[in-house]
């Protein structure tokens, strides 16, 4: 599973970082999300899904593993 952020939508609530700091961080320039590891380890998949559902801006989504998917 991969996780993808849409920076145009992200407003830096940091709900994602609170819920799964292993995968999400907040940058020090704009205060927006940074994906620390795009390829989500199996053990973190549930936590990442929960973070995605808790993003108030709908700025996160998950996709199947692999480089091509989600590039658009």
């Amino acid at each position: 599973m991969r996780v993808i952020a849409n920076h145009a939508l992200c407003q830096g609530h940091a709900r994602c970082e609170d819920l799964c700091p292993e995968v999400f961080a907040t940058d020090a320039v704009e205060g927006k999300v940074v994906i620390v590891q795009e390829e989500v380890p199996a053990a973190l998949e549930d936590k990442v899904r929960l973070a995605v559902r808790n993003c108030p801006e709908g700025a996160l989504r998950v996709a199947k593993s692999g480089p091509a998917e989600g590039a658009a």
Binding site: Q11, G12, H13, A14, E17, D18, P21, A25, T26, D27, A28, V29, E30, G31, K32, L50, R53, N54, C55, P56, E57
Partner: protein
């Protein structure tokens, strides 16, 4: 003086959307000011309605419409929005400016309040909460507002702005007049005083930079390498002063009031003192249920939204407390579920103006509750509460909240 942003008379409002509702008036006997909003929903008023009170304004009640108003600044502006209308109104930075200009101060402030930045404040936040609570723990009672909930965020402001602790009482007095006075002359003078204090502070930080937020604001450079306009710097300081005090105070008041009447919830948090994720999940739910802010927007041009006609300069009020209990979005919205997993509440707004201080605010509440539970046993509301201690408006809350608890028998040596 020509007024540029006055609403027009409501002859475009159909009678079925007219509701007699005064958001500043809490009827006698109502002990929770948010109930005047929930009562509208129970009465089944239209989910977009207009009230002639306070200069006339719309109210949105659905989560989806409230989100739309937060997001679409081309229709719903934050520039010159006060309800009731006052002109000219200080253009606070960045809240009172629409994108893209808004981004200048947003980008300046946002990095100072990220989770990483707030982690660096934690030691001081904990120490400050502990000192305040130790001051009254042995007394077995306190007025939660004056003994803690006002002092704590005001002290945090001093710390972040690099101001000495001796200024606390002066700042509390300034804030109290600002938030509670209804006398226009006293208010105008008070705003002048706050700006004078900020002016002096930023000048001092420019001469003598410190490791604090005031210094970062005054030393910041715009894209041409110049200092930001002085007026904007003051308007930014002003916003930080007003945005992070009354909101935090009353959020805490709501939360402690709920805990004082719900021993099981106290236990829930006590059992999670060593489980920060579980603790924060509970705080997030209390944030949803206790959304103290009602936000204002101004319509930028005559238009139609969801079949309703709006006129330029119409005001719109967005009650987060109602959005946060919308059954279309939240499962069992009236239930306080301290383990709620999906919780996209709007307590801190959404979209371009979403609260910059939300991480700090949540950590302030979390740290305070942790320090409190470590020092104070099960607590409850005191039997006597002062009359008339609730207020409505753009921030809702309490002017007094007396709590009490049992104190362990005095140590033998005493």
């Amino acid at each position: 003086m020509t007024l540029l942003f006055q609403p027009s008379p409501p002859d475009h409002v159909p009678p079925e959307r007219m509701v007699d509702f005064d958001m500043f008036h809490i009827p006698e006997g109502v002990s929770d000011p948010a109930e005047i909003w929930h009562d509208l929903v129970r009465r089944g008023v239209p989910d977009i309605f207009y009230t002639p009170h306070n200069g006339g304004h719309w109210v949105f009640l659905r989560y989806e419409d409230i989100v739309e108003a937060y997001r679409d600044h081309s229709v719903f502006s934050t520039y010159q929005t006060p309800v009731p209308p006052i002109e000219p109104f200080p253009v606070v930075q960045p809240q009172g400016v629409d994108p893209p200009a808004h981004n200048v101060f947003r980008r300046l402030l946002a990095p100072m309040f990220t989770p990483t930045a707030v982690r660096g404040m934690m030691g001081e936040l904990e120490r400050r909460a502990a000192v305040l609570i130790d001051g009254f723990a042995e007394r077995g009672a306190c007025d939660f507002i004056t003994d803690f909930a006002e002092r704590y965020p005001t002290g945090t402001f001093l710390y972040l702005f690099g101001l000495p602790e001796e200024r606390l009482d002066a700042f509390l007095a300034l804030a109290n007049t600002f938030f509670r006075s209804t006398d226009p002359a006293a208010r105008a003078q008070n705003i002048g005083e706050i700006y004078a204090v900020l002016d002096q502070l930023f000048r001092e930080k420019k001469r003598n930079p410190g490791n604090d937020i005031a210094t970062q604001i005054v030393m910041a450079r715009d894209e041409n390498g110049a200092q930001h306009p002085w007026e904007d710097i003051l308007n930014c300081g002003f916003l930080l002063f007003v945005a992070g005090l009354d909101t935090v105070t009353n959020t805490m008041a709501y939360i402690w009031r709920y805990l004082a009447t719900t021993p099981a919830a106290q236990k829930h948090f006590r059992d999670r003192l060593d489980d920060p994720d579980g603790f924060l999940r509970g705080i997030e739910e209390l944030m949803r249920i206790n959304a103290v802010s009602n936000l204002f927007r101004r319509v930028t041009h005559d238009c139609e939204y969801r079949g309703v006609q709006f006129r330029r300069n119409d005001r719109v009020v967005l009650p987060n407390t109602v959005a946060n209990r919308d059954p279309r979005v939240f499962k069992a919205p009236q239930v306080i579920d301290l383990d709620r997993e999906v919780n996209v509440h709007l307590t801190f707004g959404v979209g371009p103006h979403r609260c910059i201080g939300s991480v700090l605010a949540k950590r302030e509440v979390m740290v305070s509750l942790q320090q409190w539970l470590r020092r104070i046993p099960e607590f409850k509301l005191a039997d006597e509460q002062p009359a008339g201690s609730v207020f409505g408006g753009s921030v809702m809350g309490f002017t007094a909240l007396r709590l009490q608890w049992e104190v362990a028998a005095k140590r033998a040596a005493a």
